[in-house]
């Protein structure tokens, strides 16, 4: 299949632990401008807009609000609401809209501030009614339940999982913007960090930060001759929302999503130069490595010991530090795996560039291992 579209620009705001009086709209504007500058395109070329949900600040009419703020009048726009899979989910939707002839160049932008008053609206969903009253509030509990299930089924150990956090922190040392730049962590450091929700330790959990990420997706015609990360394949699957309703606790919807993305691209996982894998928690990386077929179910620990996951290693993984090392800029966290892959494939990952990159696997994950998007990106059409 010939690719229909490519990512030709990426923009990121450095993650910040806190903001004071920042507006999400303002942050989105700065990330969008950075991506457009990176693409060396003109604002007038943007005719499509995909944005994330903005609970609290702009609960409705988000595309119109963002368009107006940016002075855009898009002929295709929408909200992509897939949690941490929203960023990758925007990329294939942009390509699909371009292929359908609805637009030619799409701005995909997502982010959030961290002002003292968190912009959250009251939930009235089944999780609020049937999980919260028993003492299960927040994502930590859900991923703790998933990690415990994995350990119980396969006998995997805390040391196995700690290796994932250790490598994320190690790679963050090559990314000056990362929130844990200057703070590496050994396996022992991870294991010695406080228990938050057993069996999850603090260093196995992302640090929430403010931030925004943007990408410019354009048609094959316009991408030709530019530094581009081509969209070679994509897959998506949504299975549930509450962890109690998960059809499987040790394998997730990323498995069929990655299968589909690889099938579309005609490539196998062994061809990937970079693994840019969603890592809200260590367990998410473990399950994704296994679901990708990089190791056997339950075998990720051995895999983590057998490879070097740094930019000069044999298996580069989350070279920006992943969200475990970079910080999680709310829903934009998933987009960092896209923007990092774009930089690596375009040879622009200064200070952490991998040698001769050809292909990257990007994954996004939302809610309780519920919402999955996988992308295969490549340097050539």
């Amino acid at each position: 299949m010939r690719p229909h579209a490519a990512i030709v620009g990426a923009g990121s705001l450095a993650p910040q632990r806190r903001t004071e009086g920042a507006s999400t709209l303002g942050m989105l504007a700065r990330a969008a401008k950075a991506a457009l500058d990176d693409a060396r395109m003109e604002k007038a070329e943007i005719d499509g807009l995909l944005v994330g949900p903005q609970v609290g600040e702009t609960p409705q009419h988000v595309p119109a609000t963002v368009s107006e703020y940016l002075g855009l009048q898009p002929v295709m726009s929408n909200v992509v609401d897939l949690g941490g899979a929203s960023g990758p989910g925007m990329v294939w939707r942009a390509a699909a809209a371009i292929q359908a002839g609805m637009c030619e160049t799409v701005l995909c932008v997502i982010g959030n501030h961290r002002n003292p008053e968190p912009p959250r609206s009251p939930n009235r969903n089944p999780i609020r009614e049937f999980d919260v009253p028993f003492g299960a509030s927040g994502a930590n509990v859900s991923y703790a339940l998933l990690k415990q299930a994995h350990m119980a089924r396969y006998g995997t150990t805390d040391e196995d999982f700690a290796l994932i956090a250790h490598w994320a922190r190690a790679n963050a040392q090559n990314c000056p913007e990362a929130i844990f730049h200057g703070s590496p962590a050994s396996v022992d450091d991870v294991l010695a960090s406080p228990m938050i929700a057993s069996p999850l330790h603090l260093f196995e959990i992302v640090m929430p930060v403010a931030g925004a990420e943007a990408g410019i997706v354009t048609s094959a015609e316009r991408a030709r001759g530019r530094q581009a990360a081509w969209l070679l394949g994509a897959g998506e699957k949504i299975t549930h929302r509450a962890v109690s309703q998960a059809p499987d606790l040790t394998s997730g919807p990323l498995k069929p999503s990655m299968d589909r993305a690889f099938a579309q691209s005609g490539l196998g996982v062994e061809r990937m130069s970079l693994l840019s894998l969603y890592d809200c928690y260590t367990i998410m990386v473990a399950t994704t490595l296994e679901d990708a077929g990089l190791c056997t179910p339950g075998g990720f620990g051995e895999f983590m010991r057998a490879h070097d996951f740094g930019p000069a290693g044999d298996m580069p993984l989350n070279t920006h530090g992943g969200q475990l090392g970079y910080g999680q800029p709310d829903l934009a966290g998933g987009m960092t795996h896209v923007t990092e892959a774009v930089r690596q494939l375009r040879g622009a990952a200064t200070g952490r560039q991998i040698a001769d990159p050809e292909f990257a696997l990007v994954t996004g994950n939302g809610a309780t291992m519920s919402e999955a998007v996988a992308l295969v990106l490549g340097t050539d059409a």
Binding site: E129, F134, S137, L145, A242, Q245
Partner: protein
Amino acid sequence: MTDLSTLKVPGPTVIPLTEPFWEAAAEGRLVIQRCGACGEAVFYPREICPHCWADALSWEEASGTGWLKTFSTIWKPGHPGWIPAVPYTVGLVELAEGPTMLSHILGETPEVGMKLTLAPTNIGGRVLPCFRPEHGVE
């Protein structure tokens, strides 16, 4: 151990559809829905059957038994009202009828795979369908 009944924690956000579940819970019982068309048991309560979309759900008394699929012992709760209760355990209970629910798990040494039985417990002034180990670890 903290008396859970004294916690200031969020209770269920009951709607008319789910009232039978919470009314039974207050009486120390567990009720779930079953579809009259496909026969599947359903939790959490729905308007129509999520399996076959038939409009044929009715309430039935659940056996109150199940097994622990996974659990987490919470040291840093997501809601501050739970801080006096730490460490406490929540888990996923696969009910004998089939569906899985999240619940509060009583007892000090939970283990994946253990059989559980319903243990109605007052949390924050409301009796909720919690679970405890049935015969210890299998």
